[in-house]
């Protein structure tokens, strides 16, 4: 296939519709960035929930070695654990539960405060210092007094933590921000789609003579649509690049700032950025190519 015409048309098309392309790019950049931010918040919420348990959970701390709590003269025994488990399993307020070992608790601490603190000759804490825990998922977050008091007095239980009051607002805020970001992104995506559609309509109109002749002399539909598709791809790639930059800046400045101030929450990092960037990288071209494919079929019908 001779692509000389296609490339010259691509350049011409980009220049001819420059303002429309800029409008598409700007709208796309903002919407893609918001989608990315929404995805970052989503991952942040997941991470925080993994760490603290979600709002439906309470945590039962079992007695550990040298427990500061006077009800814990000795670390919890296997027999006590079995008894506690039986109580938990029978309780109707409990949807699900799982045990977490001291080793896992230590890993979580390492994640928050850095591994150096826990290694070497004189570590700040070892796995034995960390309490074993039972993470209980409730049927209903409001119904927790029963299980809480049932477990509280048992031998081998140090304390019952209900983190909902502290973690709840953080999780709620993160979830809200995700919803706002994705909601706004949704509206802007719609605007971007309409702009793309309008751009194609204008471009098809500007090229109607060429297109008419191409159809008559038997140019393939793909060949006729190719300049349009390439234009769409170029605007998408520019938008994705800019949105990726904006997301990186968001992670570096906004999240970085939060992370240095609120250290008790595990914050997202570059791994999560790449997930969001990949999603944006796929979404951008889809958002421009899909309407282009649909509309070129309509406007350039053979």
């Amino acid at each position: 296939m001779q692509l000389r015409y296609v490339y010259s048309e691509l350049g011409q098309g980009l220049r001819r519709n420059l303002t429309m392309h800029l409008a598409v790019i700007l709208t796309l950049v903002v919407s893609l960035t918001l989608v990315g931010i929404g995805l970052l918040f989503q991952q942040q919420a997941t991470r925080a929930a993994e760490h603290f348990g979600n709002q439906l959970q309470i945590t039962v701390y079992l007695c550990r070695l040298n427990d500061s709590n006077p009800v814990c003269p000795n670390p919890v025994t296997e027999a006590q654990k079995a008894e506690i488990e039986a109580v938990v399993a029978e309780n109707p307020e409990v949807a699900d539960y799982r045990f977490e070992s001291g080793e896992v608790a230590l890993e979580k601490a390492k994640e928050l405060y850095g591994a150096e603190l826990f290694s070497g000759d004189n570590p700040a804490l070892t796995a034995e210092d960390m309490p074993q825990t039972i993470w209980i998922t409730l049927e209903d977050p409001e119904q927790y007094e029963g299980i809480s008091s049932a477990v509280q007095g048992l031998d081998g239980v140090s304390r019952v933590r209900d983190l909902r009051e502290q973690v709840g607002p953080i999780l709620t805020t993160i979830t809200k921000m995700r919803t706002y970001a994705l909601g706004t992104a949704g509206l802007l995506v719609l605007a971007a789609l309409l702009l793309v559609a309008n751009t194609i309509r204008l471009a098809a109109f500007a090229r109607r003579k060429e297109i008419g002749i191409m159809r008559l002399v038997g140019a393939s539909t793909l060949y006729i649509a190719l300049p349009f598709l390439l234009e769409a791809l170029v605007t998408a790639l520019v938008s994705v690049a800019l949105a990726g930059g904006a997301l990186a800046a968001f992670l570096h400045f906004a999240i970085g700032d939060l992370a240095s101030n609120l250290r008790f929450v595990p914050w997202i990092g570059w791994d999560e950025f790449w997930v969001a960037a990949a999603a944006v990288g796929i979404l951008g071209p889809v958002l421009t190519l899909l309407p282009t494919l649909v509309l070129t079929r309509k406007y350039l019908k053979v």
């Binding site: 008419g212 002399v217 393939s220």
Partner: protein
């Protein structure tokens, strides 16, 4: 080369069919005039040949293909076998004569070398050698139509369709275009020409198919424009 079998074409929203039970057979290498008043169905006939539409009823065969069954993606290939010329020339104003003719080959993927060989040859055939670098607006109407004919013929199609090619031209110039179409016809290309130009039809003495309200009212081997009693 072109066969209509009991073809009816009704447009949505129009109660009367544009073509009504039309059966026509055009052999390879024939020259056919399609005459009739405006709205008689000439353009619909040509558009069915080009597979811009499908017939509502009946079958249309073009260059051995039944266009009713022809898949959409195969239509471009069909059109490469058909050259088309219009009353309004339809040249690209920002391209030279050579570029306009070459465009038809470029967009169907012909090689640069082939284009370089074939385009000047075709321009010579239509009598425009030496004018390849002109822009369309520097040419007379007749010359512009020659460019359009060159573009339609440059890919050596089996069929040439001309929709009122002399409609915008004065009689003398029209004769030139008709001579050109005749020459193309002599190379074996089937020519179907819709026209209102009685003088030309009478002069050429070719087959005449007359349409009226979507019906074929006359199909005459060496006809003239008006009715012969």
């Amino acid at each position: 080369m072109i066969r209509f079998e009991k073809v009816t074409k009704t447009y949505p929203g129009h109660p009367h069919p544009a073509l009504d039970n039309v059966s026509v057979d055009v052999e390879k290498g024939e020259f056919v005039f399609l005459v009739g008043s405006s709205g008689s169905g000439k353009s619909t006939f040509l558009r069915l040949v080009l597979r811009e539409y499908r017939p509502t009823q009946g079958r249309v065969y073009v260059a051995g293909k039944e266009i009713n069954r022809l898949a959409g993606w195969k239509v471009p290939r069909l059109r490469r076998d058909i050259g088309t010329v219009f009353q309004d020339f339809r040249l690209l104003p920002n391209k030279t004569v050579t570029e306009n003719v070459a465009f038809a080959l470029q967009v169907i993927g012909k090689s640069r070398k082939e284009i370089k060989d074939v385009v000047p040859e075709t321009l010579e055939l239509v009598g425009l050698s030496g004018k390849g670098d002109r822009m369309p607006d520097e040419l007379s109407g007749g010359e512009q139509q020659r460019v359009a004919v060159a573009r339609a013929f440059v890919n050596r199609p089996m069929i040439l369709i001309a929709d009122e090619p002399t409609g915008n031209l004065d009689p003398t110039t029209s004769v030139g275009i008709m001579k050109l179409l005749d020459r193309i016809n002599r190379t074996g290309t089937t020519v179907v020409m819709a026209t209102h130009d009685a003088g030309i039809v009478d002069q050429m003495r070719k087959r005449v198919i007359e349409l009226e309200n979507g019906h074929v009212v006359r199909d005459q081997a060496q006809g003239v424009y008006g009715h012969q009693n």
